[in-house]
Amino acid sequence: MILQAIAFYLMASVTILAGLAVVFARNPVHSVLFLITAFFSAAGLFVLMGAEFLAMLLVVVYVGAVAVLFLFVVMMLDVDFTQLREGFSRYLPIGGAVAGLLTLEMIVVATTVASQGAASASPGPNASAGADVTNAEAIGRVLYTDYVYFFQAAGLVLLVAMIGAIVLTLRHKPGVKRQNIAAQTARTPATGMTIVDIKPGEGISE
Protein backbone atom coordinates (compact mmCIF):
# COMPACT_ATOMS: atom_id res chain seq x y z
CA MET A 1 0.00 0.00 0.00
CA ILE A 2 2.82 2.38 0.80
CA LEU A 3 4.01 2.37 -2.81
CA GLN A 4 0.51 3.27 -4.00
CA ALA A 5 0.38 6.09 -1.46
CA ILE A 6 3.72 7.48 -2.58
CA ALA A 7 2.70 7.20 -6.23
CA PHE A 8 -0.61 8.90 -5.49
CA TYR A 9 0.89 11.85 -3.66
CA LEU A 10 3.60 12.20 -6.28
CA MET A 11 1.20 12.24 -9.21
CA ALA A 12 -1.46 14.29 -7.47
CA SER A 13 1.01 17.01 -6.53
CA VAL A 14 2.52 16.97 -10.04
CA THR A 15 -0.98 17.35 -11.48
CA ILE A 16 -1.79 20.32 -9.26
CA LEU A 17 1.56 22.02 -9.72
CA ALA A 18 1.39 21.54 -13.48
CA GLY A 19 -2.15 22.89 -13.46
CA LEU A 20 -0.98 26.02 -11.64
CA ALA A 21 1.96 26.34 -13.99
CA VAL A 22 -0.41 26.25 -16.99
CA VAL A 23 -1.98 29.45 -15.70
CA PHE A 24 1.15 31.18 -14.48
CA ALA A 25 3.65 30.31 -17.21
CA ARG A 26 4.64 33.38 -19.20
CA ASN A 27 5.24 31.53 -22.44
CA PRO A 28 2.11 29.90 -23.95
CA VAL A 29 4.17 27.00 -25.29
CA HIS A 30 5.33 26.28 -21.77
CA SER A 31 1.68 26.46 -20.68
CA VAL A 32 0.70 23.79 -23.18
CA LEU A 33 3.62 21.60 -22.13
CA PHE A 34 2.54 21.91 -18.50
CA LEU A 35 -1.00 21.05 -19.58
CA ILE A 36 0.37 17.88 -21.16
CA THR A 37 2.21 17.07 -17.91
CA ALA A 38 -1.07 17.53 -16.06
CA PHE A 39 -2.92 15.20 -18.47
CA PHE A 40 -0.19 12.64 -18.16
CA SER A 41 -0.13 12.55 -14.38
CA ALA A 42 -3.94 12.52 -14.33
CA ALA A 43 -3.69 9.38 -16.48
CA GLY A 44 -1.34 8.00 -13.86
CA LEU A 45 -3.97 8.67 -11.20
CA PHE A 46 -6.54 6.77 -13.30
CA VAL A 47 -4.17 3.79 -13.44
CA LEU A 48 -3.83 3.90 -9.65
CA MET A 49 -7.61 3.71 -9.36
CA GLY A 50 -7.62 0.63 -11.58
CA ALA A 51 -9.16 2.44 -14.56
CA GLU A 52 -6.33 1.63 -16.92
CA PHE A 53 -8.55 1.76 -20.01
CA LEU A 54 -9.62 5.35 -19.28
CA ALA A 55 -6.03 6.26 -18.51
CA MET A 56 -4.79 4.98 -21.86
CA LEU A 57 -7.64 6.71 -23.70
CA LEU A 58 -6.75 9.96 -21.94
CA VAL A 59 -3.15 9.62 -23.09
CA VAL A 60 -3.95 8.50 -26.65
CA VAL A 61 -6.72 11.02 -27.33
CA TYR A 62 -5.78 14.09 -25.30
CA VAL A 63 -2.03 13.89 -25.02
CA GLY A 64 -1.36 12.10 -28.28
CA ALA A 65 -3.72 14.02 -30.55
CA VAL A 66 -5.54 17.01 -29.07
CA ALA A 67 -2.59 18.50 -27.20
CA VAL A 68 -0.35 18.03 -30.24
CA LEU A 69 -2.73 20.26 -32.19
CA PHE A 70 -2.78 22.78 -29.31
CA LEU A 71 0.98 22.88 -29.37
CA PHE A 72 0.94 23.12 -33.14
CA VAL A 73 -1.30 26.20 -33.06
CA VAL A 74 0.32 27.91 -30.09
CA MET A 75 3.81 27.53 -31.54
CA MET A 76 2.74 29.25 -34.73
CA LEU A 77 0.95 32.10 -32.98
CA ASP A 78 2.83 35.31 -32.49
CA VAL A 79 1.14 36.69 -29.40
CA ASP A 80 2.06 40.01 -27.86
CA PHE A 81 2.01 39.25 -24.15
CA THR A 82 2.38 42.75 -22.80
CA GLN A 83 -0.77 43.64 -24.68
CA LEU A 84 -2.55 40.61 -23.26
CA ARG A 85 -1.60 41.56 -19.72
CA GLU A 86 -3.08 45.03 -20.02
CA GLY A 87 -6.66 43.81 -19.78
CA PHE A 88 -5.92 41.87 -16.59
CA SER A 89 -7.68 44.17 -14.12
CA ARG A 90 -10.62 44.67 -16.46
CA TYR A 91 -11.31 40.95 -16.83
CA LEU A 92 -10.48 40.06 -13.24
CA PRO A 93 -14.05 40.42 -11.83
CA ILE A 94 -15.74 38.26 -14.47
CA GLY A 95 -12.94 35.71 -14.51
CA GLY A 96 -12.94 35.56 -10.73
CA ALA A 97 -16.73 35.11 -10.69
CA VAL A 98 -16.53 32.16 -13.11
CA ALA A 99 -13.67 30.57 -11.18
CA GLY A 100 -15.54 31.04 -7.88
CA LEU A 101 -18.70 29.49 -9.31
CA LEU A 102 -16.79 26.47 -10.60
CA THR A 103 -15.02 26.01 -7.27
CA LEU A 104 -18.35 26.22 -5.44
CA GLU A 105 -19.90 23.60 -7.73
CA MET A 106 -16.98 21.27 -7.27
CA ILE A 107 -17.11 21.63 -3.49
CA VAL A 108 -20.84 20.86 -3.52
CA VAL A 109 -20.37 17.78 -5.71
CA ALA A 110 -17.38 16.54 -3.73
CA THR A 111 -19.10 16.89 -0.36
CA THR A 112 -22.28 15.24 -1.66
CA VAL A 113 -20.35 12.29 -3.06
CA ALA A 114 -18.32 12.04 0.13
CA SER A 115 -21.40 12.00 2.37
CA GLN A 116 -23.88 10.04 0.23
CA GLY A 117 -21.81 8.20 -2.33
CA ALA A 118 -22.03 8.66 -6.08
CA ALA A 119 -25.56 8.91 -7.45
CA SER A 120 -26.60 5.43 -8.44
CA ALA A 121 -27.55 5.88 -12.09
CA SER A 122 -29.41 2.57 -11.90
CA PRO A 123 -26.86 0.31 -13.60
CA GLY A 124 -28.72 -1.60 -16.31
CA PRO A 125 -29.11 -5.34 -16.52
CA ASN A 126 -25.91 -5.65 -18.54
CA ALA A 127 -23.64 -3.93 -16.05
CA SER A 128 -21.53 -6.52 -14.36
CA ALA A 129 -19.54 -5.99 -11.23
CA GLY A 130 -17.59 -9.20 -11.60
CA ALA A 131 -13.98 -8.97 -10.55
CA ASP A 132 -12.75 -10.98 -13.52
CA VAL A 133 -14.05 -8.53 -16.12
CA THR A 134 -11.38 -6.15 -17.39
CA ASN A 135 -12.51 -2.58 -17.34
CA ALA A 136 -12.43 -2.18 -21.12
CA GLU A 137 -14.92 -5.05 -21.27
CA ALA A 138 -17.02 -3.60 -18.45
CA ILE A 139 -17.28 -0.24 -20.25
CA GLY A 140 -18.08 -1.98 -23.53
CA ARG A 141 -20.86 -4.01 -21.95
CA VAL A 142 -22.83 -1.00 -20.79
CA LEU A 143 -21.80 1.38 -23.56
CA TYR A 144 -23.11 -0.79 -26.39
CA THR A 145 -26.24 -2.03 -24.61
CA ASP A 146 -27.79 0.22 -21.98
CA TYR A 147 -26.33 3.47 -23.26
CA VAL A 148 -26.19 2.68 -26.95
CA TYR A 149 -28.47 5.58 -27.93
CA PHE A 150 -26.44 8.10 -25.96
CA PHE A 151 -23.32 6.65 -27.49
CA GLN A 152 -24.74 6.94 -31.00
CA ALA A 153 -25.98 10.46 -30.31
CA ALA A 154 -22.51 11.49 -29.15
CA GLY A 155 -21.10 9.97 -32.31
CA LEU A 156 -23.57 11.93 -34.44
CA VAL A 157 -22.68 15.18 -32.68
CA LEU A 158 -19.01 14.54 -33.40
CA LEU A 159 -19.81 13.72 -37.02
CA VAL A 160 -21.74 16.98 -37.42
CA ALA A 161 -18.87 18.89 -35.83
CA MET A 162 -16.38 17.24 -38.15
CA ILE A 163 -18.41 17.93 -41.29
CA GLY A 164 -19.01 21.48 -40.07
CA ALA A 165 -15.28 22.07 -39.66
CA ILE A 166 -14.62 20.72 -43.14
CA VAL A 167 -17.41 22.80 -44.71
CA LEU A 168 -16.16 25.96 -43.01
CA THR A 169 -12.61 25.56 -44.22
CA LEU A 170 -13.06 23.90 -47.60
CA ARG A 171 -12.38 26.34 -50.39
CA HIS A 172 -11.78 25.48 -53.98
CA LYS A 173 -9.23 28.00 -55.07
CA PRO A 174 -9.01 28.42 -58.82
CA GLY A 175 -5.58 28.26 -60.34
CA VAL A 176 -4.12 25.79 -57.85
CA LYS A 177 -2.14 23.10 -59.60
CA ARG A 178 -2.96 19.67 -58.29
CA GLN A 179 -1.49 16.35 -59.21
CA ASN A 180 -3.89 14.05 -61.05
CA ILE A 181 -2.15 10.74 -60.69
CA ALA A 182 -4.50 8.83 -63.00
CA ALA A 183 -4.05 11.38 -65.79
CA GLN A 184 -0.33 11.43 -65.19
CA THR A 185 0.18 7.70 -65.45
CA ALA A 186 -2.20 7.41 -68.40
CA ARG A 187 -0.04 9.71 -70.50
CA THR A 188 1.53 8.05 -73.53
CA PRO A 189 4.07 9.42 -76.00
CA ALA A 190 1.14 9.93 -78.37
CA THR A 191 -0.70 12.30 -76.01
CA GLY A 192 2.28 13.81 -74.23
CA MET A 193 4.51 14.75 -77.10
CA THR A 194 4.31 16.18 -80.62
CA ILE A 195 6.96 16.05 -83.25
CA VAL A 196 7.34 19.28 -85.18
CA ASP A 197 9.39 19.62 -88.29
CA ILE A 198 11.06 23.04 -88.05
CA LYS A 199 12.36 24.65 -91.16
CA PRO A 200 15.86 26.18 -90.85
CA GLY A 201 15.86 29.82 -89.75
CA GLU A 202 12.15 29.98 -88.85
CA GLY A 203 11.76 28.67 -85.34
CA ILE A 204 8.39 27.81 -83.85
CA SER A 205 5.60 30.32 -83.80
CA GLU A 206 2.73 29.73 -81.32
Binding site: M1, V29, G64, L71
Partner: protein, 356 residues
Protein backbone atom coordinates in the same frame (compact mmCIF):
# COMPACT_ATOMS: atom_id res chain seq x y z
CA UNK B 1 5.77 -10.89 -12.75
CA UNK B 2 6.37 -10.46 -9.03
CA UNK B 3 3.17 -10.67 -7.00
CA UNK B 4 2.20 -8.09 -4.42
CA UNK B 5 2.60 -10.72 -1.69
CA UNK B 6 6.29 -9.85 -1.40
CA UNK B 7 7.25 -6.77 0.56
CA UNK B 8 6.57 -3.61 -1.47
CA UNK B 9 10.20 -2.47 -1.33
CA UNK B 10 11.45 -5.81 -2.59
CA UNK B 11 8.87 -5.62 -5.35
CA UNK B 12 10.02 -2.10 -6.20
CA UNK B 13 13.64 -3.25 -6.30
CA UNK B 14 12.78 -6.21 -8.52
CA UNK B 15 10.87 -3.98 -10.92
CA UNK B 16 13.80 -1.56 -11.14
CA UNK B 17 16.13 -4.50 -11.73
CA UNK B 18 13.98 -5.84 -14.57
CA UNK B 19 13.76 -2.42 -16.16
CA UNK B 20 17.54 -1.98 -16.00
CA UNK B 21 18.09 -5.45 -17.42
CA UNK B 22 15.80 -4.88 -20.39
CA UNK B 23 17.19 -1.40 -21.04
CA UNK B 24 20.78 -2.58 -21.03
CA UNK B 25 20.11 -5.62 -23.23
CA UNK B 26 18.07 -3.46 -25.59
CA UNK B 27 20.70 -0.73 -25.90
CA UNK B 28 23.49 -3.22 -26.53
CA UNK B 29 21.44 -5.00 -29.18
CA UNK B 30 20.67 -1.65 -30.77
CA UNK B 31 24.37 -0.95 -31.09
CA UNK B 32 24.68 -4.09 -33.21
CA UNK B 33 21.39 -3.56 -35.06
CA UNK B 34 22.64 -0.11 -36.06
CA UNK B 35 25.78 -1.72 -37.41
CA UNK B 36 23.63 -4.26 -39.26
CA UNK B 37 21.48 -1.45 -40.61
CA UNK B 38 24.52 0.29 -42.10
CA UNK B 39 25.90 -2.97 -43.46
CA UNK B 40 22.59 -3.68 -45.20
CA UNK B 41 22.46 -0.28 -46.90
CA UNK B 42 26.09 -0.68 -47.83
CA UNK B 43 25.34 -4.08 -49.33
CA UNK B 44 22.46 -2.70 -51.39
CA UNK B 45 24.61 0.16 -52.64
CA UNK B 46 27.56 -2.21 -53.29
CA UNK B 47 29.76 -0.58 -50.68
CA UNK B 48 31.57 -2.24 -47.81
CA UNK B 49 30.01 -0.29 -44.95
CA UNK B 50 31.68 0.04 -41.56
CA UNK B 51 34.57 -2.45 -41.49
CA UNK B 52 37.39 -0.79 -39.60
CA UNK B 53 36.59 -0.78 -35.86
CA UNK B 54 36.74 -4.30 -34.47
CA UNK B 55 36.17 -7.53 -36.45
CA UNK B 56 33.86 -6.81 -39.43
CA UNK B 57 33.47 -3.31 -38.01
CA UNK B 58 31.27 -4.73 -35.26
CA UNK B 59 32.38 -2.14 -32.72
CA UNK B 60 31.59 0.81 -35.01
CA UNK B 61 28.54 1.82 -32.96
CA UNK B 62 30.61 1.98 -29.78
CA UNK B 63 33.21 4.14 -31.49
CA UNK B 64 30.38 6.43 -32.62
CA UNK B 65 29.04 6.51 -29.08
CA UNK B 66 32.37 7.66 -27.69
CA UNK B 67 32.68 10.23 -30.47
CA UNK B 68 29.22 11.66 -29.72
CA UNK B 69 29.76 11.83 -25.97
CA UNK B 70 33.15 13.53 -26.19
CA UNK B 71 31.98 16.26 -28.55
CA UNK B 72 30.88 19.67 -27.36
CA UNK B 73 27.17 20.23 -26.83
CA UNK B 74 26.22 23.46 -28.54
CA UNK B 75 23.04 25.24 -27.50
CA UNK B 76 21.94 27.94 -29.94
CA UNK B 77 21.85 31.44 -28.46
CA UNK B 78 18.12 32.00 -28.98
CA UNK B 79 17.10 28.50 -27.94
CA UNK B 80 14.74 27.72 -25.11
CA UNK B 81 17.39 25.91 -23.09
CA UNK B 82 15.25 23.69 -20.88
CA UNK B 83 12.97 22.45 -23.64
CA UNK B 84 15.91 22.14 -26.02
CA UNK B 85 17.60 19.69 -23.66
CA UNK B 86 14.37 18.04 -22.54
CA UNK B 87 13.29 17.09 -26.07
CA UNK B 88 15.89 14.37 -26.80
CA UNK B 89 15.51 12.97 -23.29
CA UNK B 90 11.74 12.70 -23.77
CA UNK B 91 12.23 10.97 -27.12
CA UNK B 92 14.42 8.27 -25.60
CA UNK B 93 12.35 7.87 -22.44
CA UNK B 94 9.09 7.39 -24.32
CA UNK B 95 10.66 4.97 -26.78
CA UNK B 96 12.08 2.90 -23.91
CA UNK B 97 8.85 3.11 -21.89
CA UNK B 98 7.02 1.17 -24.60
CA UNK B 99 9.09 -1.93 -23.84
CA UNK B 100 7.49 -2.26 -20.42
CA UNK B 101 4.56 -4.26 -21.79
CA UNK B 102 6.30 -6.32 -24.49
CA UNK B 103 6.05 -10.08 -23.76
CA UNK B 104 9.52 -11.39 -24.62
CA UNK B 105 8.76 -15.00 -23.75
CA UNK B 106 6.11 -16.77 -21.64
CA UNK B 107 6.09 -14.82 -18.39
CA UNK B 108 8.93 -12.53 -19.43
CA UNK B 109 7.38 -9.09 -19.34
CA UNK B 110 7.81 -6.24 -16.90
CA UNK B 111 4.18 -5.23 -16.65
CA UNK B 112 1.21 -7.40 -17.55
CA UNK B 113 -1.22 -4.57 -18.28
CA UNK B 114 -4.73 -5.45 -19.47
CA UNK B 115 -4.63 -2.69 -22.05
CA UNK B 116 -1.03 -3.30 -23.09
CA UNK B 117 -1.71 -2.65 -26.73
CA UNK B 118 -3.28 0.74 -26.00
CA UNK B 119 -0.29 1.55 -23.83
CA UNK B 120 2.01 0.82 -26.77
CA UNK B 121 -0.13 2.99 -29.04
CA UNK B 122 -0.03 5.78 -26.46
CA UNK B 123 3.74 5.64 -26.06
CA UNK B 124 4.38 5.59 -29.78
CA UNK B 125 1.99 8.49 -30.33
CA UNK B 126 3.76 10.52 -27.64
CA UNK B 127 7.02 10.20 -29.56
CA UNK B 128 5.95 13.22 -31.57
CA UNK B 129 6.53 15.51 -28.57
CA UNK B 130 10.28 15.04 -28.60
CA UNK B 131 10.36 16.13 -32.21
CA UNK B 132 8.01 19.11 -31.88
CA UNK B 133 9.71 20.39 -28.74
CA UNK B 134 13.15 19.98 -30.27
CA UNK B 135 12.12 21.74 -33.46
CA UNK B 136 10.48 24.63 -31.66
CA UNK B 137 13.12 25.11 -28.98
CA UNK B 138 15.90 25.33 -31.57
CA UNK B 139 14.53 28.77 -32.52
CA UNK B 140 15.38 28.29 -36.15
CA UNK B 141 13.30 27.89 -39.29
CA UNK B 142 14.39 24.54 -40.69
CA UNK B 143 13.97 22.66 -37.42
CA UNK B 144 10.59 24.29 -36.95
CA UNK B 145 9.41 23.29 -40.42
CA UNK B 146 10.64 19.77 -39.77
CA UNK B 147 8.78 19.68 -36.48
CA UNK B 148 5.52 20.86 -38.07
CA UNK B 149 5.81 18.26 -40.79
CA UNK B 150 6.45 15.53 -38.29
CA UNK B 151 3.51 16.57 -36.12
CA UNK B 152 1.10 16.29 -39.05
CA UNK B 153 2.70 13.10 -40.32
CA UNK B 154 2.75 11.22 -37.05
CA UNK B 155 -0.79 12.23 -36.08
CA UNK B 156 -2.03 11.07 -39.51
CA UNK B 157 -0.41 7.67 -39.48
CA UNK B 158 -1.32 7.05 -35.87
CA UNK B 159 -4.94 6.86 -37.07
CA UNK B 160 -4.30 3.96 -39.43
CA UNK B 161 -2.09 2.21 -36.86
CA UNK B 162 -4.95 2.53 -34.40
CA UNK B 163 -7.44 0.94 -36.78
CA UNK B 164 -5.07 -1.91 -37.68
CA UNK B 165 -4.66 -2.56 -33.97
CA UNK B 166 -8.46 -2.66 -33.67
CA UNK B 167 -8.63 -5.45 -36.26
CA UNK B 168 -6.07 -7.46 -34.30
CA UNK B 169 -7.91 -6.81 -31.04
CA UNK B 170 -11.16 -7.98 -32.65
CA UNK B 171 -9.52 -11.20 -33.79
CA UNK B 172 -7.87 -11.88 -30.46
CA UNK B 173 -10.67 -10.64 -28.25
CA UNK B 174 -8.17 -9.10 -25.86
CA UNK B 175 -6.02 -6.02 -25.46
CA UNK B 176 -3.52 -7.84 -23.30
CA UNK B 177 -0.37 -8.47 -25.34
CA UNK B 178 0.32 -11.72 -23.48
CA UNK B 179 -3.15 -13.01 -24.40
CA UNK B 180 -2.76 -11.90 -28.01
CA UNK B 181 0.45 -13.91 -28.29
CA UNK B 182 -1.05 -16.87 -26.42
CA UNK B 183 -4.00 -16.95 -28.88
CA UNK B 184 -1.59 -17.42 -31.76
CA UNK B 185 0.16 -20.49 -30.33
CA UNK B 186 0.27 -23.77 -32.17
CA UNK B 187 0.69 -23.94 -35.93
CA UNK B 188 1.52 -20.83 -37.93
CA UNK B 189 -1.98 -20.64 -39.40
CA UNK B 190 -3.07 -19.44 -35.98
CA UNK B 191 -1.04 -16.29 -36.51
CA UNK B 192 -3.12 -13.18 -36.89
CA UNK B 193 -1.67 -12.42 -40.28
CA UNK B 194 -3.46 -15.55 -41.55
CA UNK B 195 -6.72 -14.67 -39.83
CA UNK B 196 -5.92 -16.05 -36.39
CA UNK B 197 -7.78 -18.95 -34.83
CA UNK B 198 -6.93 -21.77 -37.18
CA UNK B 199 -7.88 -22.87 -40.68
CA UNK B 200 -11.56 -21.93 -40.39
CA UNK B 201 -10.52 -18.30 -40.07
CA UNK B 202 -8.31 -18.47 -43.14
CA UNK B 203 -10.60 -16.21 -45.27
CA UNK B 204 -9.63 -13.41 -42.90
CA UNK B 205 -6.09 -13.69 -44.24
CA UNK B 206 -7.39 -11.73 -47.24
CA UNK B 207 -8.00 -8.84 -44.85
CA UNK B 208 -5.16 -9.35 -42.41
CA UNK B 209 -2.31 -9.61 -44.91
CA UNK B 210 -3.10 -6.14 -46.30
CA UNK B 211 -3.50 -4.92 -42.71
CA UNK B 212 -0.02 -6.21 -41.94
CA UNK B 213 1.33 -4.26 -44.92
CA UNK B 214 -0.56 -1.13 -43.82
CA UNK B 215 0.88 -1.50 -40.34
CA UNK B 216 4.39 -1.92 -41.70
CA UNK B 217 4.12 1.18 -43.91
CA UNK B 218 2.50 3.20 -41.11
CA UNK B 219 5.24 2.09 -38.76
CA UNK B 220 7.80 3.45 -41.22
CA UNK B 221 5.93 6.76 -41.22
CA UNK B 222 5.41 6.82 -37.46
CA UNK B 223 9.12 6.35 -36.80
CA UNK B 224 10.12 8.88 -39.47
CA UNK B 225 12.03 6.31 -41.42
CA UNK B 226 12.67 6.56 -45.15
CA UNK B 227 10.71 6.73 -47.42
CA UNK B 228 8.80 8.90 -44.94
CA UNK B 229 11.70 10.76 -43.33
CA UNK B 230 10.21 14.12 -44.29
CA UNK B 231 10.79 15.62 -40.83
CA UNK B 232 14.50 15.30 -41.60
CA UNK B 233 14.50 15.44 -45.40
CA UNK B 234 18.15 16.40 -45.64
CA UNK B 235 17.75 17.53 -49.24
CA UNK B 236 15.17 20.20 -48.31
CA UNK B 237 15.47 20.89 -44.59
CA UNK B 238 19.16 20.02 -44.00
CA UNK B 239 18.26 17.65 -41.17
CA UNK B 240 14.87 18.91 -40.06
CA UNK B 241 14.20 19.08 -36.36
CA UNK B 242 17.72 18.00 -35.41
CA UNK B 243 19.69 20.64 -37.31
CA UNK B 244 20.79 22.45 -34.17
CA UNK B 245 21.54 19.33 -32.15
CA UNK B 246 25.03 18.07 -31.60
CA UNK B 247 26.87 15.67 -29.37
CA UNK B 248 24.92 13.64 -26.78
CA UNK B 249 21.63 15.43 -27.47
CA UNK B 250 21.77 14.32 -31.10
CA UNK B 251 22.83 10.87 -29.96
CA UNK B 252 19.72 10.66 -27.78
CA UNK B 253 17.49 11.59 -30.74
CA UNK B 254 19.11 8.90 -32.90
CA UNK B 255 18.89 6.38 -30.10
CA UNK B 256 15.22 7.19 -29.47
CA UNK B 257 14.49 6.76 -33.17
CA UNK B 258 16.14 3.35 -33.26
CA UNK B 259 14.53 2.17 -30.03
CA UNK B 260 11.16 3.19 -31.51
CA UNK B 261 11.94 1.31 -34.73
CA UNK B 262 12.83 -1.88 -32.88
CA UNK B 263 9.68 -1.42 -30.78
CA UNK B 264 7.63 -1.24 -34.00
CA UNK B 265 9.36 -4.42 -35.24
CA UNK B 266 8.42 -6.11 -31.96
CA UNK B 267 4.85 -4.87 -32.35
CA UNK B 268 4.51 -6.32 -35.88
CA UNK B 269 5.88 -9.64 -34.62
CA UNK B 270 3.49 -9.71 -31.68
CA UNK B 271 0.37 -8.50 -33.46
CA UNK B 272 0.66 -10.49 -36.69
CA UNK B 273 3.35 -13.15 -36.43
CA UNK B 274 2.69 -14.82 -33.13
CA UNK B 275 5.27 -13.10 -30.93
CA UNK B 276 7.35 -15.81 -29.32
CA UNK B 277 5.47 -18.69 -31.00
CA UNK B 278 7.76 -20.47 -33.44
CA UNK B 279 4.88 -21.41 -35.78
CA UNK B 280 4.57 -25.05 -34.77
CA UNK B 281 3.25 -26.67 -31.57
CA UNK B 282 5.78 -26.39 -28.78
CA UNK B 283 4.40 -29.19 -26.62
CA UNK B 284 7.69 -31.10 -27.00
CA UNK B 285 9.23 -28.43 -24.78
CA UNK B 286 6.90 -29.23 -21.89
CA UNK B 287 9.44 -31.29 -19.99
CA UNK B 288 12.13 -28.65 -20.31
CA UNK B 289 13.50 -26.42 -17.64
CA UNK B 290 11.25 -23.34 -17.44
CA UNK B 291 14.07 -20.87 -17.97
CA UNK B 292 15.59 -22.78 -20.90
CA UNK B 293 12.18 -23.01 -22.55
CA UNK B 294 11.56 -19.30 -22.13
CA UNK B 295 15.02 -18.50 -23.42
CA UNK B 296 14.53 -20.53 -26.60
CA UNK B 297 11.17 -18.84 -27.20
CA UNK B 298 12.80 -15.47 -26.56
CA UNK B 299 15.30 -16.28 -29.31
CA UNK B 300 12.37 -17.03 -31.63
CA UNK B 301 10.90 -13.62 -30.83
CA UNK B 302 14.28 -11.93 -31.30
CA UNK B 303 14.64 -13.59 -34.71
CA UNK B 304 11.31 -12.15 -35.80
CA UNK B 305 12.31 -8.69 -34.59
CA UNK B 306 15.58 -8.95 -36.50
CA UNK B 307 13.73 -10.03 -39.64
CA UNK B 308 11.46 -6.99 -39.44
CA UNK B 309 14.40 -4.75 -38.72
CA UNK B 310 15.95 -6.10 -41.90
CA UNK B 311 12.76 -5.14 -43.75
CA UNK B 312 12.97 -1.62 -42.30
CA UNK B 313 16.58 -1.34 -43.44
CA UNK B 314 15.69 -2.60 -46.93
CA UNK B 315 12.91 -0.02 -47.21
CA UNK B 316 15.44 2.70 -46.46
CA UNK B 317 17.89 1.30 -48.98
CA UNK B 318 15.46 0.73 -51.83
CA UNK B 319 12.49 3.11 -51.74
CA UNK B 320 12.81 6.76 -52.84
CA UNK B 321 11.44 9.45 -50.54
CA UNK B 322 7.78 10.43 -50.75
CA UNK B 323 6.66 13.95 -51.45
CA UNK B 324 4.73 15.55 -48.61
CA UNK B 325 1.34 15.72 -50.39
CA UNK B 326 1.74 12.11 -51.48
CA UNK B 327 2.40 11.16 -47.88
CA UNK B 328 -0.77 12.85 -46.69
CA UNK B 329 -2.77 11.36 -49.55
CA UNK B 330 -1.55 7.86 -48.71
CA UNK B 331 -2.37 8.27 -45.04
CA UNK B 332 -5.81 9.84 -45.28
CA UNK B 333 -7.19 8.73 -48.63
CA UNK B 334 -5.81 5.21 -48.92
CA UNK B 335 -4.95 3.79 -45.50
CA UNK B 336 -7.80 5.31 -43.52
CA UNK B 337 -10.64 3.99 -45.76
CA UNK B 338 -8.85 0.64 -46.17
CA UNK B 339 -8.45 0.11 -42.45
CA UNK B 340 -12.01 1.25 -41.75
CA UNK B 341 -13.38 -1.30 -44.21
CA UNK B 342 -11.10 -3.92 -42.69
CA UNK B 343 -12.39 -3.19 -39.20
CA UNK B 344 -15.95 -3.65 -40.50
CA UNK B 345 -15.08 -6.91 -42.29
CA UNK B 346 -13.30 -8.39 -39.29
CA UNK B 347 -16.08 -7.36 -36.92
CA UNK B 348 -18.65 -8.87 -39.32
CA UNK B 349 -16.66 -12.08 -39.54
CA UNK B 350 -16.44 -12.32 -35.79
CA UNK B 351 -20.20 -11.92 -35.41
CA UNK B 352 -21.57 -13.76 -38.44
CA UNK B 353 -18.64 -15.90 -39.60
CA UNK B 354 -19.39 -18.46 -36.92
CA UNK B 355 -15.70 -18.72 -36.14
CA UNK B 356 -14.37 -18.02 -32.71
Amino acid sequence: MPEQTVSPWLWFGLAIGQILLITVVLLISIAFLLWGDRKIWAGVQMRKGPNVVGPFGLLQSFADLIKFILKELIIPAGADKVIFLLAPVITVTLALAGWAVIPFAPGWMISDVNVGILYLLAMSSLGVYGIIMGGWASNSKYPFLGALRSAAQMVSYEVSIGFVIVTVVLLSGSMNLGDIVEKQSGWFWNWNVLGGGGLKNLPMALVMIPMMVVFYVSALAETNRPPFDLPEAESELVAGYQVEYSSSAYLLFMLGEYVAIVLMCAMISILFFGGWNPGFPISFMDGWNETARSFVLFLVFATKIIFWFFMFAMAKAIVPRYRYDQLMRLGWKVFLPMTLVAVMLVAGWRVYGGAL
